[in-house]
């Protein structure tokens, strides 16, 4: 359904301004609904029918599906658009690490630990992996249950249990029922049984079919039984031109959902584990090259509408671009990731400390200030308002130019804080040296291209 405005949503509300939802007015509540900070049920005035109408009206084109429990609860989907500039993407794609019950114990522990401990800090955010996907490759319910227990013991995040055999899924979910795992998967053979398990344990499930008609039919059947906590796996060929078909299929599905096809209005998932089929672990080179292929396929699916990904590789270098890209793609395009443009004091600067300039792109600022901190440098860091652009970009886009630098110098009053007139600029802004010098009257020193070399540079140049 097309996204409604706050005014349109307001019509679904009681218009009493009773305040029992903690908002002063129903209009304020409507705005909160739009921002997804309130849910329909937060309005105590709405009755069954009215509540249902409102819920229908605010359900995103791609339904949002929750699983996991407590602080590890995950919401996937919730999307309204095809291109992020039309609104933004919401359900930041969770990554799950693949575990099979045929792996030896050491491997299982290694993978579980990796999923638990992986952590990268970027722009003040900690990027993590969200879960472990446990699949029953043995066909043995007992072996599967043991593996589920093992993983659950060392891992606190979200879980996916994978088997097409309902009795195996049942055995698995019984062990971790309080964690509300995601069930993978219902297909045209087993959907009645898998649906029963999902309803009994209050968990969502994945519907799998590589035929879109069938996928929609199963989802429709479940929805008619009043079950909508569904994630769709439309199947994926990931090798050669199969990848083209897969991207095409994911695109058709997202576009259909956005155009209001209810049967397909669910989050999409993909497992890239099938790429590893036939790999015996014999050669390190082959393993690295498979990890490369998997990371590439996963990044393209991440851009093209996969709301959940299961990954086999646990190589940090192969995961790193994925978590970074996810942070990028799911950033609200209206918000520039920037810090306040002003003069920052690093360490304990005095009148002879160097003055260094950089941009207010958050990542640039965190990198530069972090490097200076680590090197125990005391200095003034003058952050220029480049509208949140990095150095290279802001030089190209003229956001860092002689007049913005001059204005920042004046405003910061750094002139009266140091007794020298030396300004260190980023290496990537080297070609602006003369302009800066003419405009500011300060001596411009071209610094290194990367801030990790700043402290060595300061020592070498005796600054």
């Amino acid at each position: 359904m097309a996204r409604l405005t706050a005014l349109q949503l307001y019509k679904y509300l009681p218009a009493k301004n009773c305040g029992r939802c903690d908002e002063a007015t129903c209009m304020a509540f409507a705005i909160r609904l739009l921002e997804r900070e309130k849910k329909a049920v937060d309005c105590p005035e709405l009755t069954d029918n009215g509540l249902e109408r409102l819920e229908d009206a605010i359900t995103p084109s791609v339904r949002d599906v929750e699983f996991g429990a407590g602080e590890n609860k995950i919401t996937v989907g919730g999307e309204e658009v095809i291109c992020r500039h039309e609104l933004r993407f919401f359900g930041s794609t969770p990554f799950f690490i693949d575990v099979s019950d045929l792996m030896d114990e050491k491997e299982i522990i290694k993978r579980t630990k990796f999923a638990q401990e992986f952590e990268v800090e970027r722009i003040g955010q900690i990027l993590k992996l969200q879960g472990v996907s446990i699949r029953c490759a043995s066909g043995d319910s007992k072996k599967f249950s043991e593996t589920v227990s093992k993983v659950a013991k060392d891992f606190s995040g979200a879980l996916i249990l994978c088997s097409f055999d309902p009795s195996i899924l049942r055995a698995g979910v019984e062990i971790v029922k309080e964690r509300k795992p995601l069930l993978y998967a219902a297909n045209k053979e087993n959907y009645t049984e898998v649906l029963e398990i999902a309803q009994e344990y209050g968990t969502p499930l994945v519907v799998y079919s590589d035929k879109i008609d069938e996928l929609g039919s199963i989802a429709k059947e479940m929805s008619s039984r009043n079950f909508k906590d569904i994630i769709l796996d439309p199947g994926a060929e990931l090798r050669g031109s199969g990848l083209a078909k897969t991207l095409n299929k994911f695109t058709m599905l997202r576009k259909s959902a956005v155009k209001g096809v209810k049967e397909l209005g669910y989050p999409l998932m993909c497992s890239t584990v099938s790429l590893w089929m036939g790999f015996k672990g014999s050669s390190e080179g082959e393993r690295m090259s498979l990890a490369y292929t998997e990371s590439t396929a996963a990044s393209m699916l991440l851009d093209r509408f996969a709301s959940l990904l299961v990954l086999h590789s646990i190589d940090v270098w192969a995961i790193l671009p994925l978590v970074t890209l996810r942070q990028n793609i799911y950033t609200d395009p209206k918000i520039e990731p920037s810090v306040e443009a002003k003069l920052y004091e690093i360490g304990t600067p005095d009148e002879s400390s160097p003055v260094i300039i950089t941009t207010n792109f958050a990542l640039t600022y965190f990198n530069v200030s972090g490097d200076l901190d680590n090197a125990k440098v005391s200095c003034y860091l003058l952050v220029i308002d480049t509208e949140g652009l990095a150095v290279t970009v802001s030089v190209a886009a003229e956001k860092m130019n002689a007049s913005t630098i001059n204005a920042a110098l004046k405003e910061s009053d750094v002139e009266n804080k140091v007794k020298h007139h030396k300004l260190i600029i980023p290496g990537a802004a080297a070609r602006l040296k003369d302009e800066f010098e003419d405009e500011t009257g300060w001596e411009i020193i071209v610094g290194p291209n990367d801030s990790s070399q700043l402290s060595n540079f300061l020592i070498k140049e005796n600054l």
Partner: protein
């Protein structure tokens, strides 16, 4: 049939179908492997599923992205051994269900007119060839099968080496002699010197149909456009991530006489983690506007993908992040993959491994119409369902 024999048979089977079966014993217990059990369940008669017929959500687009020819052979008045064509898309990138069809994107390999600072593991691919642009170009073509070369004349920047325009033109001539693939002539980014350099380069490359890279509103772009038109070259307009400004610049270029079939636009490619999200959105917006009929944006797009190397993750020595020989090229190719999905038609790339990955992606993504209506299913080699059993 005796029970032992039956049990043995069951042990190896993937599926069993028992016909004319008569039970003579009092009680018989089958222990079936779960796979078989699942299939056994499947044979239970089911209520038919409700019907759902999928119709691909097809939009029609008013316009088509213009096509640009790169390089000129003898027949076209040049000395190149091939002509390449980019552009021509009639739907968003890889929307095969909307009949997406285009020329294959082209990758142009970067070389520089002076040795530049690169991580050692990248330098080792080029060795001494980095000292001489002609040698570097030859290596790119012979060893790495470059279809196209970008010569970046970075040393001409007054703040770098201030190499004179005449000297830079000698370098261009050397490279034109050394290799016969189409060329991109890149300036240093200096807004004062580039117009003079690129205009002179247009004259030196007369007949070769090169691409002059890049022009922006802060330089005398009209001077470059005039030279490009006079000597029949193409040029790349550069605006950082802003579709409105890009539209304005292209409109102005067209006013000076540039034709769409000689124009390419670059919305600046920020690396993964360094602005790629703005690149993606700017490119998507321009491509959609172009397809919907905005003639000033219905142009092929270039991506200077090697910008990805300014990302710290691409080169840092941090062992916790895994081996940099793998991390670096993956950073560049992931950046390229995003540009590809956003509509890039021309890539300027650095690392041979990244280039190889993107070449094979382009090949596999651009096979002529892999999906007819989007409904065609090919189940014969679909192994996806078995991922659970890998």
């Amino acid at each position: 049939m005796d029970v032992e024999k039956l049990r043995k048979l069951l042990g190896d089977a993937d599926e069993i179908e028992i016909e004319d079966f008569e039970l003579e014993s009092e009680k018989i217990e089958f222990i079936l492997r779960s796979q078989i059990a699942a299939n056994a369940v499947s044979r239970k008669p089911k209520a038919p599923l409700p019907g759902f017929r999928f119709t691909p959500p097809v939009d029609k687009y008013d316009s088509k992205i213009s096509e640009v020819t790169l390089g000129a052979t003898k027949a076209g008045g040049g000395t190149r051994d091939r002509e390449l064509r980019i552009g021509g898309a009639n739907a968003p990138p890889f929307y095969y269900f909307e009949n997406y069809c285009t020329n294959n994107p082209v990758i142009s390999h970067d070389i520089f007119d002076m040795p530049i600072s690169l991580p050692g593991h990248v330098k080792k691919y080029f060795g001494d060839a980095m000292e001489d642009p002609a040698d570097w170009a030859k290596l790119r073509v012979k060893k790495f099968n470059a279809e196209m070369i970008t010569l970046h004349l970075v040393s001409t920047d007054p703040n770098v080496k201030d190499t004179s325009v005449n000297e830079a033109c000698k370098t261009i001539e050397d490279v034109l002699q050394a290799v016969k693939v189409p060329l991109i002539i890149g300036g240093s980014g200096n807004p004062k010197k580039d117009p003079e350099l690129l205009s002179k380069a247009a004259e030196v490359c007369s007949g070769e149909k090169v691409i002059l890279s890049t022009v922006d509103p802060d330089m005398d772009y009209k001077m470059v456009a005039k030279a490009a038109a006079e000597y029949n070259h193409s040029l790349i307009s550069l605006i950082s991530m802003n579709p409105d400004e890009m539209r304005r610049l292209n409109k102005n270029l067209m006013k000076t006489g540039m034709k769409p079939e000689n124009m390419i636009m670059d919305l600046f490619t920020g690396g993964v983690g360094y602005g790629i999200e703005y690149t993606i959105s700017a490119m998507e917006r321009c491509r959609l506007a172009g397809l919907k009929g905005d003639k000033y944006l219905a142009l092929p797009m270039a991506s200077a993908t090697s910008n990805a190397w300014s990302a710290r993750e691409a080169w840092s020595h941090d062992d916790k992040l895994g081996p940099r020989e793998w991390r670096g090229p993956l950073w560049e190719s992931t950046t390229a993959a995003m540009a590809l999905l956003s509509g890039a038609d021309l890539f300027m790339m650095l690392h041979p491994t990244s280039i190889k990955i993107i070449e094979s992606l382009i090949e596999s993504l651009s096979v002529s119409k892999p999906v007819d209506s989007g409904l065609e299913e090919n189940n014969t080699n679909n192994t996806y369902t078995q991922w659970i059993n890998v």
